[in-house]
């Protein structure tokens, strides 16, 4: 027992926690060495250039619909797949009967919208089903200036009280199980649901006069969108490239099964068919201007900027980089609706092959910032992680690409232009804040 107490006493003393750090009383009771931070602006950007054509608008994950007088008029459209006008009424019976269309719903997702705009309306137009990648603003303009087939007031829908009828709410809960907030239905039976990511899921009801099932068009539809609002009319819709969030048309129809027993009347069957899109795109005017001596990011087809950095030797091994900021001076403010502000990302490349440099999309060294619409302030892009990596690993390629955020690349008319090294007064600069090597062990 005595021995146990001795063991306990000694082990407890040995296990005592250590606290040896106290607030410094400098300089009298601090180590002589000090941690020194420095900040320098380097003109070490060289051979910067821009290239266009990486992503086409019809490959984008989004399509922008905007009507900003004096800035841009952007219109989106999509075409749907074939729908047969007749149906095989009975299995094993080759006889077909005609479908009688009752109505249809157009589903699309509003990814981005101005939150403080009133009177936000989306107008639907009927376009030729032959609309494709060769269709441009001018060729589609006659259809977009015709009377719309329908219009949905998004602002009003957002103000509508949520439906309380459980028949309605339960039905729409099965359509969108991950939606939040209420089911909002306007008098025209257009439905608005809010998804988890705050995007809006819109179902617009059309009748057969607005969208007839045309045998000549093999049941295909082409629907265009224009937007209107009291100000900053601009919304971004998701495209078929997103997969599950693509625009859709759902046809509701019925048909009659001829009864083989003459004593009973013919039975009527109601059914519906969801038709995926064949193609979607957006067109806008004025088109994105061609590449010039400046640096461009965004636009359609998308432009990217390649920046090469000549790292000075002392940045490699004698310091600890704590912040690196790339400063880009805009040639002018990007015009548009504030909600169309977009993110640009600096990504390292795997190898410097000019315009075809493979971008390291999975790199944790990427950094991003926002380009704000209407702002001509210098855009500051934090590239700390990249410069830190270059500082430590001299084998890395000191080149990076500035690209629009994935998902919105080529999905909008917006494009940022910055001065390049060809404009010495406004050239891109790299501000590096670093900590000098601490002088250890020298009392």
């Amino acid at each position: 027992m005595k021995r146990s107490r001795i063991y306990f006493l000694l082990i407890a003393a040995a296990a005592c926690t250590e606290q040896s750090t106290a607030p410094g009383v400098c300089p009298d009771f601090c180590p002589p060495g000090q941690i020194q931070s420095h900040d320098s602006v380097f003109s070490i950007i060289e051979r910067d250039s821009s290239f266009r054509g990486y992503v086409q608008s019809f490959h984008a994950f989004t399509m922008t619909v905007a009507d900003l007088p004096g800035v841009v008029d952007s219109r989106a459209f999509f075409t749907t797949d074939t729908v047969l006008s007749r149906i095989q009424a009975k299995i094993g019976d080759t006889t077909t009967v005609p479908k009688v269309v009752d109505s249809l719903r157009v589903r699309f997702i509003v990814v981005q919208r101005p939150k403080n705009t009133t009177g936000l309306k989306l107008r639907l137009y009927r376009l030729p089903v032959t609309s494709d990648s060769t269709s441009d603003f001018a060729s589609l303009d006659p259809y977009f200036v015709a009377a719309p087939i329908d219009s949905v007031d998004i602002s009003r829908l957002l103000q509508v009280p949520g439906a309380t009828d459980t028949a309605i709410t339960n039905y729409w809960a099965t359509i969108c199980q991950t939606c939040i907030d209420s089911v909002r239905v306007d008098p025209e039976e257009n439905v608005l649901l809010t998804q988890l990511d705050s995007t809006l899921l819109l179902f617009v009801k059309l009748d057969t006069l607005q969208a007839p099932l045309s045998e000549a068009d093999t049941g295909r539809l082409a629907i265009g969108f224009r937007v209107a609002a009291d100000s900053f009319a601009s919304v971004v819709l998701s495209t078929m490239e997103t997969g599950a969030s693509s625009p859709l048309v759902r046809w509701f129809y019925h048909y009659t099964i001829p009864d083989t027993v003459s004593a009973t009347p013919d039975s009527v069957v109601a059914n519906d068919k969801v038709v995926p899109p064949r193609f979607d795109n957006f067109v806008f005017t004025p088109p994105t201007p061609p590449i010039d001596s400046n640096l461009a990011v965004g636009g359609v087809p998308s432009a990217r900027t390649i920046v090469r950095v000549a790292m000075p030797n002392f940045l490699h091994d004698t310091i600890d980089v704590v912040r690196a900021t790339l400063s880009l001076v805009p040639v002018g403010a990007v015009q548009g609706a504030p909600s169309d502000s977009f993110r640009i990302i600096a990504r390292p490349v795997l190898g410097d092959l000019g315009a075809k440099s493979p971008v390291n999309t999975g790199s944790f060294l990427a950094d991003s910032t926002f380009v704000h619409i209407g702002s001509s302030d210098t855009v500051r892009l934090e590239v700390t992680k990249m410069v830190q990596a270059w500082s430590l690993d001299t084998s890395l390629v000191t080149t990076f690409v500035i690209v629009p955020q994935p998902g919105i690349e080529a999905g909008s008319y917006t494009e940022a232009r910055f001065y390049s090294t060809r404009a010495p007064a406004f050239r891109p600069t790299l501000r590096v804040t670093y900590v000098s090597r601490y002088q250890f062990g020298r009392p």
Binding site: L10, A13, E18, P23, V25, D28, F29, D320, G441, P443
Partner: protein, 369 residues
């Protein structure tokens, strides 16, 4: 046999733990200097204010006294300190440290010759300072927090021999190897999270050699005198194999007197000088210290009391002063094969701009397998 095994296991446990914390209690006064000098004292000597150190074979201060040990023995000391740092113009803070300041193993070679060795702390260099400041980056004030820490010590490894030259005179000599390292970290954290934390780490290795000599003179059975001197080469500091600094080390010398006032009482006093100004560092000072102590009671269970006063070698202005009172007791167990020393010390340090107060719990274990 079982007792021996347990004692050996206990010593091994302390040794294993001790390798990571071989140091004396630290001081803020040592941050700007080479460190805080350790005390070459066992727990027994420490509880007598250090006065018994020249006459205690388990205090690595003198070599001649090793001759008093007539069978293989080992002793280790453990200290836990609660330190209050009280700067004149700053915030008071409380620190805690656990240290293993000394280990001595000694045994006779022949009837007249004894050999011993072990380690003790030469300079403790464990500290941490937290500095809050605001720096200017591109014209914008940026609050930063710097944390500079050093963890480790310079350890004195000793091999010593003591010889009885007659009935009254004993001499001893030792070779010392200064070794050890400190893990040092300098970290700057910015309040603005756009700035990443900068952290630099290194390990500084220290090296040096030295020699010591001492004598014991028994004037009578009750009165004993001790004298000692020690000199070291330069202390070399290496960072990644490159010598970054060299500092001269002090010559130390001192003496002591022990009076056995009967079978159950002993009094001792000692003095020591160190010319730390030889280091050439700014604000380094030569130091003098004295101590007096008393041990009363039976040999197997004595009570001890002591007092000391001295100076610290580093500090702005005049040399900082320190004074301490200590007390303790000891118990032998396992038929004299083991002894446990327990004590407590209250120490105060006063210098320009800073005061420190310490409570230290002292533990010592001696085994004779």
């Amino acid at each position: 046999m079982t007792t021996t095994v347990h004692l050996t296991a206990l010593l091994t446990l302390l040794l294993a733990a001790g390798t990571s914390r071989v140091a004396a209690q630290n001081s803020q006064f040592g941050i700007q200097g080479l460190g805080t000098p350790g005390r070459a004292e066992s727990a027994r000597a420490r509880t007598t204010g250090g006065a018994f150190a020249p006459f205690d074979p388990f205090s690595p201060l003198t070599d001649a006294v090793l001759a008093d040990v007539r069978r293989l023995s080992a002793n280790i000391a453990l200290t836990t300190s609660w330190r209050t740092v009280d700067p004149t113009d700053g915030t008071q803070s409380s620190l805690k440290e656990t240290r293993f300041p000394s280990l001595v193993i000694v045994g006779p070679l022949t009837r007249r010759l004894t050999i011993g060795g072990g380690f003790t702390t030469y300079l403790d260099r464990t500290y941490g300072v937290l500095i809050k400041d605001t720096i200017d980056i591109a014209g914008v004030p940026q609050p930063v927090t710097d944390q500079i820490t050093s963890d480790g010590a310079i350890t004195d490894l000793r091999v010593a021999v003591a010889a009885r030259l007659g009935k009254r005179l004993t001499v001893g000599g030792g070779l010392h190897k200064l070794t050890g390292s400190t893990r040092e970290v300098a970290r700057r954290t910015f309040d603005d999270t756009l700035y990443t934390t900068s952290a630099a780490r290194t390990e500084i290795a220290y090296g040096g050699t030295g020699g010591s000599a001492s004598l014991l003179l028994d004037l009578s059975q009750a009165l004993r005198l001790s004298g000692w001197v020690r000199s070291d080469t330069k202390l070399r500091s290496d960072n990644n194999g490159k010598t970054i600094a060299e500092h001269d080390l002090p010559i130390s010398y001192g003496g002591g007197v022990l009076w056995r006032a009967g079978a159950e009482a002993s009094l001792a006093g000692s003095v020591a000088w160190n010319n730390w100004s030889a280091t050439g560092l700014p604000n380094s000072h030569d130091t003098f210290s004295w101590s007096a102590g008393l041990e009363i009671g039976k040999f197997g269970a004595p009570f001890r009391f002591g007092a000391r006063q001295g100076q610290l070698p580093f500090g702005i202005g005049e040399a900082p002063k320190e004074s301490a009172l200590s007390a303790g007791l000891a118990r032998q167990f396992s038929g004299g094969r083991g002894r446990l020393d327990i004590g407590v010390e209250r120490l105060e340090r006063t210098g320009t701009g800073m005061k420190e107060h310490l409570w230290t719990l002292l533990l010592g274990l001696t085994v004779r397998p």
